[in-house]
């Protein structure tokens, strides 16, 4: 884990709408310089929390610190180097892409104005910058939204469900863009319910459900995958089971459809096990690691599945 101060820190963050609590007592810590996934079902409270992070709505209780600055006391400083797309990116449809960037750059200050061209270029919109946004596709609007984020020369980029509505090519592009931003030392905070995408894109995640934070940390730590579970297929499953059951390199072995399920005592013992079987004259046709995915972990945590419907 990084030793740098967190780029986002919330303590007891709560948002109530009348009697309904949308976000409850969230203590979130987002390390700087990584891609951070924010997971939750639709309606879990992701967007409400993001709206509080960029001061679009006031918390009912709790504090938010962005880049070390309290949002309540130093809003302008806290958000000066934050770029955000909250929900879908919105623009003045009657203005061109370039003019839309000029509108936001004006609010950010003169330096942001000089970043308009590089931002358009990076978003791949240089040649469409003078077209009215009303003529843009959803993917182009998403890219223009990213360009708008870049006007801040952001240390933190917040993307709320950025993959929504993108085709596979667009998703791939976005994945590359996020990786590029992280490589430059920026932090990208991505909310999504697309678990596979988050697992591919992010280093760490937080899981929110019904407004409560269920877990947070590096993905590998959250998944808790010890890399010791394997699926074994061979020509003599019974003989293999007897051989492995009492072996010290194997913690557990059991029959499963199509072969055996083997749990190693040590993740480095995979070679020992296959050698043992081959030396015993057993033909091993498959020895495949079983990975625990982020989806497995998320579905175990979140309430909509897992018996808490």
């Amino acid at each position: 884990m990084t030793t740098a101060p967190p780029i986002i820190e919330t303590r007891g963050l709560t948002k109530r709408f009348g009697s309904r609590t949308a976000v409850s007592d969230i203590n979130l810590t987002v390390p700087a310089g990584c891609a951070f996934g924010f997971l939750g079902h639709n309606g879990a409270g992701k967007t409400t929390l993001i709206r509080m992070l960029v001061s679009l709505t006031q918390p009912s209780a709790g504090i938010v610190k962005v880049n070390g600055w309290s949002l309540a006391d130093h809003r302008e400083r806290a958000l000066a180097r934050v770029g955000a797309i909250v929900e879908e990116p919105r623009f003045h449809a009657h203005l061109t892409g370039r003019q839309n960037l000029r509108v936001v750059a004006a609010a950010r200050g003169p330096r942001a104005g000089r970043r308009i061209e590089p931002a358009l270029q990076r978003a791949g919109l240089s040649d469409r910058g003078d077209d009215r946004v009303g003529t843009y596709s959803q993917g182009m609007r998403q890219r223009l939204g990213i360009a708008r984020c870049l006007l801040a020369d952001p240390m933190l980029v917040i993307l709320d469900e950025p993959m929504n509505g993108l085709d596979p090519g667009g998703i791939l592009e976005l994945r590359g863009l996020i990786a590029g931003l992280v490589a430059e030392g920026r932090t990208v905070f991505v909310s999504s319910h697309l678990l596979d995408e988050i697992e591919k894109t992010c280093h760490a995640v937080a899981v929110i459900d019904k407004g409560r934070l269920l877990a947070q940390g590096p993905i590998s730590q959250l998944i808790g995958d010890t890399h010791t579970r394997y699926e074994l297929s061979c020509d003599q499953p019974q003989a293999a089971l007897s051989l492995l059951a009492g072996h010290p390199a194997v913690a557990q072995a059991s029959q499963a459809p199509g072969g055996l399920l083997v749990t190693l005592a040590d993740p480095r013992a995979a070679g020992t096990v296959t050698t043992l079987l081959i030396q015993a004259g057993i033909t091993v046709t498959g020895f495949t690691p079983i990975r625990t995915t982020l989806a497995d972990r998320f579905l175990g945590l979140a309430s909509r599945v897992g018996g808490n419907k």
Partner: protein, 265 residues
């Protein structure tokens, strides 16, 4: 917020307004367009005998109270709601820029655009006053300037009022109906309700009417013409008129700023 940022933000707000074709074309039609039609009609009816100073009075009334004012209110309503309606307000808030600043820049932007329209409409009446005065005396430049200043005052007050109300309600239709309805129907009724006495001095157009240059009082019309332009002039102390106008501009602006600061983006 320093001067450079303020200047850039005002320019950005003006850009949004200038590029909004439906609003701008309607506003141009309501200001210079209507002025051209009006004076062409009057000239056609009076065959080169249009009274010079009367043309200035008519032009000022058209721009400060009637169609030019509608254009001003349209511009103000657009300036006050365009960020909210497009959804860009949240992106502007997310820059960390103070919401009060986001509100305040709308006022000079709206005023600048509205002034350019109402004064260009008034310029048509100045041209008509000099070109078609016929046997009537040509107006003095001083009188033309007086009327222009009054048009500017009426435009600034109503643009600020419209931006304030639009920022308060967040709705362009509600703003248009409320402000134009108040300025036409309600003001017309209150103007005629003499039993209300000095209470009527608190109405914006009546206060503006008090500062209207020249001697025209109440409804006036070109001799032989069916057109009658009411400049809502009632006698009141000039200080009262100024304070009332200031109140109509400042109080809605305060309300609009407050709503911009407190609304969820």
């Amino acid at each position: 917020m320093n001067g450079t940022v303020a200047h850039q933000m005002i320019a950005a707000d003006m850009l949004k307004l200038r590029r909004h074709r439906p609003t701008m074309s309607t506003a141009v039609l309501l200001s210079a367009g209507i002025a051209i039609v009006y004076f062409a009609f009057i000239e056609a009816r009076h065959h080169g005998n249009l009274a010079g100073p009367q043309a200035l009075s008519d032009g000022a009334t058209l721009m400060g109270i009637y169609f030019g004012a509608f254009a001003t209110i349209l511009i103000g309503a657009e300036a006050g709601t365009t960020d909210l309606a497009s959804g860009v307000f949240r992106d502007l808030v997310a820059t960390g820029r103070s919401r009060t600043a986001l509100f305040l820049v709308r006022i000079p932007a709206a005023i600048t655009i509205a002034l350019s329209l109402s004064l260009s409409g008034f310029a048509v009446s100045v041209a008509a006053a000099y070109a078609f005065h016929g046997s009537a005396p040509a107006p003095t430049p001083g009188l033309a300037l007086e009327f222009a200043a009054w048009v500017a005052l009426a435009t600034v007050a109503q643009a600020t009022l419209a931006v304030g109300i639009a920022s308060l309600t967040g709705s362009r239709p509600v703003t248009l109906i409320a402000v134009i309805g108040w300025n036409t129907v309600a003001t017309g009724l209150l103007y005629l309700a003499s039993f209300l006495g000095p209470v009527r001095d608190l109405v914006l157009l009546i206060a503006l009417g008090d500062l209207f240059p020249g001697q025209q009082v109440g409804t006036h019309a070109h001799p032989g013409s069916s057109i009658a332009l009411n400049n809502f002039k009632l006698p009141m102390p000039a200080v009262t008129a100024v304070l009332v106008i200031l109140g109509w501009a400042v109080l809605p602006a305060i309300a609009g700023a407050w709503r911009t600061r407190t609304r969820d983006a």
